[in-house]
Structures are given as structure tokens and as C-alpha cells.
């Protein structure tokens, strides 16, 4: 298998944790809420799913429990930041620390244990094409995350719910005055973000690298938050960004294949460094951010 084939076949799976978490955060941010606790929600989902799967609960059950865990923590965020109007940044950080702590707490007796991943589903015909065939051999969660991307894209472009989320994010006062329950809509959006982050974590710990280690999310939740900025709050661009980071995560293995002598620490830093650089490039285009940005993002809404 050459490097290109390797990247093509592995990219989507590597991108999936980023993609799922970023899509969830995208919905929350579209509604005007900045939840920085993604890393913690992912970590908790990862631990819960791993425990369920390790104890013979099956992947489906693992994902359900992880989703519930993510929703629970995100509702905690919503209670404090939306219900009690606390600073969203500080609340997100608290949720992040709490989620990561809980994952380490629950996962303590599972350190370095492994489980089996999920079966690959091949798309007939397409998966037999040389070179790009690997792209069409993926597990079901990858396929589902692609469906979720398409679904969210459709939602924002064509449905009333999408319109409503955008409206609430742009001008919550106006939305309230024409009769929409702003806080309830935002709580819903945040809960969706928690659900997606929980699933993203579950995928990371039970499918992508089916092994438990404390700190295994390794900044992927934070990168997911950055991806939403990279994608300027558009589903399609967030998807492309996730693919980029999927490829970057494969860099280590690719370098081993090519036999280049690059320190492993530099390779491990690569996603972080790329995040920093891309953030600088995208953000310096102030007009672009202003044009696509969410006017009320992170602001406390006082009725």
C-alpha cells in the first residue's frame, strides 16, 4: 500500500471524531452559544463507551451511553451558562475540566485495555477502483457522519429549524420579541452539541483506536472548536477541514512509510501547529469572519 492509498483509505475514519464534534459545536455556535467544553464532553463519551463495550455491552449501547453522557454534561453547561447567565467561556472551561476529570475517574481501572472495533462496510463496485477504492471501505459510523454532514447542510439551507437557529444566533432579542423561546432553542442546540461530542469520543475510543488511555482525546475536542472557525460556520467547509485534520493525524504513519527522520514529537505537534497557522490565516480576514460570523456568539442573553 503506498502513501496515497493509505491516506485515502484512512482519512475519513481519522476525520470522524473531529467531524462529529465540530458539527455539534457548529449547531451550538449557530444558535449563539460558545461551548468550549467539547474536549471534556468527548473525553467523557470516550470513557463511558469504552467501559460499556469492554464489559460486553456492544458498540451500539456504547454509543448510546456516550451520547447520553455528552448530553448530560452539555445540559449542565446550559443550566449554568444559559439558565444562570454565567460567562460562557469560563463555564465551558469548567465543563472541559470536569469532563476530562470524570473520564479519568471512571476509566482508571481500564487503562491500556483494548476492545475490538467495528466492521468495515464496502460500497460495491466503487471500493474496487484502484487507488481511491479505500475511500469506499469504511465502518458504519463514518458513513453515518457523512450522512449527518449532509443532513445538517440541508437543515441550514432549507428548513425552518435551520433558519430559526440562524435567527436566534444573530439576534436573540428579535427572536424573542417575535415569539420564539430563545433559551429553549439554545438549550436544544447545546444538547445536540453534547450528543455529537459524546459520539465523537465514543468513536475515538471504541472504533478508531479501540484502546483506553487517559488523555486519549489529546486536544481533538479543541481542534473541533477551531474547525468551526476554519469552516466559517459552514457545514461544507467544516467537513473539508475535518478531512484535512484526518490526513494530518495519519502523518506519523505516512512518515514511517516513507522513512523520513522527523522527530515523533514534531509529528505529534503537527495538528496543533497547523491549527495555530490556519487560525491566523482565516482570522486575519476580518471581513470574512464578520460576514459569516455569529453576531451574538458567546454573549450572555439577558431577557
Amino acid at each position: 500500500m503506498n502513501a496515497i492509498e493509505f491516506i485515502l483509505s484512512g482519512m475519513l475514519a481519522a476525520a470522524t471524531p473531529f467531524l462529529l464534534a465540530a458539527l455539534g459545536e457548529l449547531v451550538a455556535e449557530r444558535a449563539g452559544v460558545l461551548n468550549l467544553g467539547v474536549e471534556g464532553m468527548m473525553a467523557l463519551g470516550a470513557a463511558l463507551a469504552f467501559i460499556v463495550v469492554y464489559n460486553g455491552g456492544g458498540h451500539f449501547e456504547g454509543f448510546i451511553v456516550a451520547a447520553l453522557g455528552g448530553i448530560f454534561v452539555s445540559l449542565l453547561f446550559a443550566f449554568v451558562a444559559l439558565g444562570l447567565r454565567a460567562n460562557q467561556v469560563a463555564t465551558g472551561l469548567a465543563i472541559g475540566i470536569l469532563g476530562a476529570g470524570l473520564s479519568a475517574f471512571f476509566g482508571k481501572s481500564y487503562e491500556s485495555f483494548t476492545v475490538t472495533g467495528l466492521n468495515q462496510i464496502q460500497i460495491p463496485v466503487l471500493s474496487n477502483i484502484p487507488v481511491v477504492g479505500g475511500l469506499f471501505t469504511q465502518d458504519c459510523i463514518v458513513w453515518l457522519s457523512l450522512l449527518a454532514s449532509a443532513g445538517l447542510w440541508y437543515m441550514f439551507a432549507y428548513t425552518k429549524i435551520g433558519l430559526l437557529l440562524r435567527a436566534v444566533g444573530e439576534n436573540p432579542k428579535a427572536a424573542q420579541s417575535i415569539g420564539y423561546p430563545v433559551i429553549a432553542i439554545r438549550v436544544g442546540a447545546v444538547a445536540f452539541g453534547g450528543l455529537m461530542a459524546g459520539i465523537a469520543g465514543a468513536y475515538a475510543s471504541t472504533v478508531y483506536t479501540p484502546l483506553w488511555a487517559d488523555g486519549m482525546i489529546a486536544g481533538r475536542g479543541w481542534i473541533a472548536v477551531a474547525l468551526v472557525v476554519f469552516g466559517t460556520w459552514m457545514v461544507g467547509r467544516v467537513f473539508l477541514g475535518a478531512c484535512l485534520f484526518g490526513m494530518l493525524s495519519l502523518a506519523g504513519t505516512v512518515v514511517q512509510l516513507t522513512g523520513l527522520a522527523i522527530p515523533s514529537q514534531l509529528l505529534a505537534s503537527l495538528p496543533y501547529l497547523v491549527t495555530i497557522i490556519v487560525l491566523g490565516i482565516i482570522s486575519s480576514n476580518r471581513r470574512l469572519l464578520k460576514l459569516n460570523g455569529i453576531a451574538s456568539l458567546g454573549e450572555t442573553y439577558e431577557r
Binding site: V80, A90, T91, L93, A94, F105, A226, L266, A268, S284
Partner: protein, 362 residues
């Protein structure tokens, strides 16, 4: 049926009594939440709370260890709080701490034989500069490139960990160290002098307390501190007054970075005595909690850093005596910050229960 919920109503002015009560009530709330968690997990809560909250104060040695941990937490939190009040969210203190430790270590690593009284002060200075330089990257990204400082500073922390690993596994590894990822042990002159004989508490604690007082003057009395606070509370008012936003960001991040770097240097030149992987047990993140718990006020932070240090020491004991996973401390920290944010709401708001008259309908 309608659910009757109390409404949050803004107070006319901030409640001073609530400001003082909030951290203590938050502690009670967090303790309660963790109590239930321990019960579900078959950990004996009384043993945990004894170990966490009482045992650090039962022996002189344990108490001195609390003071030792207070130093770095106090330094970092004071620096961060200044930024937080200016709404500059530097959450990469962990990375700035690590860079401070690395830069300080350069002297004993490259000049292991050097001696003289100049060595440890230079290390502290170099550490502060290193932390400041690391924070300056975030600052540049925020001011010139308009990038979000939360994400950039956090990513830089993750990079700093990798940089530390690289040095310890590669060029800075102690050749006589049995292949452990650590540097040489530092020479005597590279160590910060001890403050309390018979303990590991060194004079960097004095620096931390002194800098806290300086922070108090800076935030409560100086015009620059006032400008920073205006920038945090009402950025448009700061622009209207002509207070430079970029300047405020640079100052916030540099102060935070230098303080964290100084703390990192004091850690390797103090209790640890070499550069190793475990130089920080999450000080940079814990300091965020310390800063908030102290109400972002220099005096409050003096108390909250001491408390958080006790929690660290207590967590170590609880691991042994009550079989509490070490992650239990992180859970407690996270729930403490969350509880504090819940209670801090009532500094500026109060609950308004729907009046009974509204429910009587003809």
C-alpha cells in the same frame, strides 16, 4: 399545567456579601456533588474528605508541602486574573509554565559545572522571559491576526508538552540517567534558597506573595489596571476613551506568561531540581480555577491558591488512605469551578419568585 420557576433579576449593584459567600458556598456545593459521586462508586466519602480537607493541616510537613504548592498556583493565578478581568482568556498558562521551566533549565543543562550566586536568579529571570515569549506568540496572533487567544494559547500548551518531551528524550536527556526522560540533576547554585528550614518551601513563595501585593496595587489603584478593566467590561467604552485594545491584550498576556514562566522556573530550580516530564501537575489549568475562585481579586486569589494547594496535597493522601483515584482531584476541581460560577451569578442577580397574586385568576 404551568411550572413555576423563579426568574433571575439583575441587582441594582453587585452584592458584596454574595461576593464573599460565593466561594465558600461553592465549596459546599462541590463537596456535596462529589459526595454523591463517591457513594455511587463505593469510595468512603468521609475518608476522602478527611484526607482532602483536614489532613493537609494535621502535620507541619504536610502544611509545608501545601505552602510549597501555593507558590506556583498563586503566581500563575495572579497573572491570569489580570488578563481575565480584561477579558483576555489566556488558558495556555500550562505551556508558558513549561517554557519557563525549559528556559531556566538551559543554564544548568549547558553549564552543569558553573557556580555562583548569579545562577538561580538568572534562571528565574530566564524562565519569566521564556514564559512571556511563549505568551507573546498568542498575543501576536490575537492582536495582529485577530485569532482567538483561547484556542491559540491552548494549542501552544499542547505544543509545549511535545517540545518538553523532545528535549527530554533527545538533546537534554541525562546521559547517566538510565535512559529516563529527564535532564541532569541541577547543581547546588542552580537551586532557589530554602525559606523555611527543614522543608522544601523556598523563597519563590516570597516572590509570589510580593507579586500578589503588586497585583493588588496594579488592579485596584493604578490607571493602567483601570484601563485593562474597562477593556474587559466594556470594550467599546475603552475604544471611546482611547485606551488601546491591542496594548491591553499584549500587557495581559505578557504579565500572565511571565508569571507562569517564573513559576515554571521556580519549580525546576526548587522542589524538583531537574527538568522532567512531570514538572507540572496541571498547575496551568488549576490556576484558572484558582483565579475564578478568588473572584479575580488579588486578595481572594491569595486564599484560593492556598486552598487549591491543600486540595493537591490532600488528593495525594486520599489516593493512599481512601483509595481515591488521582483523577478525583480533577473532578473536584472541575465541579468547584462550576459550582463557583453557579453561585457567582447571584453577585449580580437575585431570584424573583412569581408573586402569589399573579396566580390568582378570576
Amino acid at each position: 399545567m404551568t411550572l413555576i420557576l423563579p426568574r433571575l433579576v439583575a441587582r441594582e449593584r453587585a452584592s458584596l456579601s454574595m461576593m464573599i459567600i460565593a466561594p465558600f458556598a461553592a465549596l459546599a456545593l462541590a463537596a456535596f456533588a462529589n459526595f454523591t459521586l463517591y457513594l455511587t462508586l463505593d469510595v468512603d466519602p468521609s475518608a476522602v474528605f478527611y484526607a482532602l480537607l483536614i489532613e493537609p493541616f494535621t502535620s507541619w510537613y504536610a502544611f509545608s508541602e501545601v505552602l510549597l504548592k501555593t507558590g506556583p498556583l498563586l503566581l500563575i493565578a495572579q497573572g491570569l486574573a489580570i488578563g481575565f478581568r480584561a477579558k483576555v482568556f489566556n488558558i495556555g498558562a500550562e505551556g508558558q509554565f513549561i517554557l519557563g521551566a525549559i528556559c531556566a533549565s538551559a543554564i544548568p543543562v549547558y553549564a552543569p559545572q558553573a557556580s555562583g550566586i548569579w545562577i538561580w536568579p538568572s534562571m528565574l529571570l530566564l524562565g519569566a522571559l521564556g514564559g512571556g515569549a511563549w505568551a507573546a506568540i498568542t498575543s501576536f496572533w490575537r492582536v495582529r491576526l485577530n485569532a482567538n487567544e483561547i484556542l491559540v494559547s491552548l494549542m501552544l500548551s499542547l505544543v509545549a508538552v511535545q517540545l518538553l518531551n523532545y528535549l527530554l528524550l533527545g538533546p537534554w536527556k541525562d546521559p547517566m540517567g538510565f535512559n529516563f526522560p529527564q535532564s541532569v540533576m541541577f547543581q547546588y547554585d542552580a537551586m532557589v534558597p530554602t525559606l523555611l528550614p527543614g522543608t522544601r518551601v523556598n523563597i519563590s513563595l516570597l516572590f509570589a506573595v510580593g507579586l500578589s501585593l503588586a497585583a493588588w496595587v496594579f488592579m485596584q489603584r493604578s490607571f493602567i489596571g483601570f484601563k485593562l478593566q474597562v477593556g474587559g467590561l466594556a470594550p467599546r467604552a475603552a475604544a471611546y476613551a482611547g485606551f488601546s485594545q491591542g496594548g491591553a491584550i499584549w500587557m495581559s498576556l505578557l504579565i500572565g506568561g511571565c508569571a507562569a514562566g517564573f513559576a515554571g522556573a521556580a519549580e525546576v530550580a526548587g522542589p524538583i531540581g531537574q527538568l522532567q516530564r512531570s514538572i507540572s501537575t496541571g498547575y496551568g489549568y488549576a490556576a484558572i480555577i484558582v483565579a475564578y475562585l478568588g473572584g479575580l481579586h488579588p486578595i481572594g486569589i491569595l486564599l484560593s491558591s492556598f486552598f487549591m494547594a491543600a486540595l493537591y496535597i490532600g488528593g495525594d493522601t486520599a489516593m493512599v488512605s481512601a483509595d481515591l483515584p488521582i483523577a478525583g482531584v480533577r473532578v473536584f476541581q472541575g465541579s468547584l469551578l462550576l459550582s463557583y460560577l453557579i453561585l457567582a451569578t447571584f453577585v449580580r442577580h437575585r431570584l424573583d419568585w412569581p408573586r402569589p397574586s399573579a396566580e390568582i385568576k378570576p
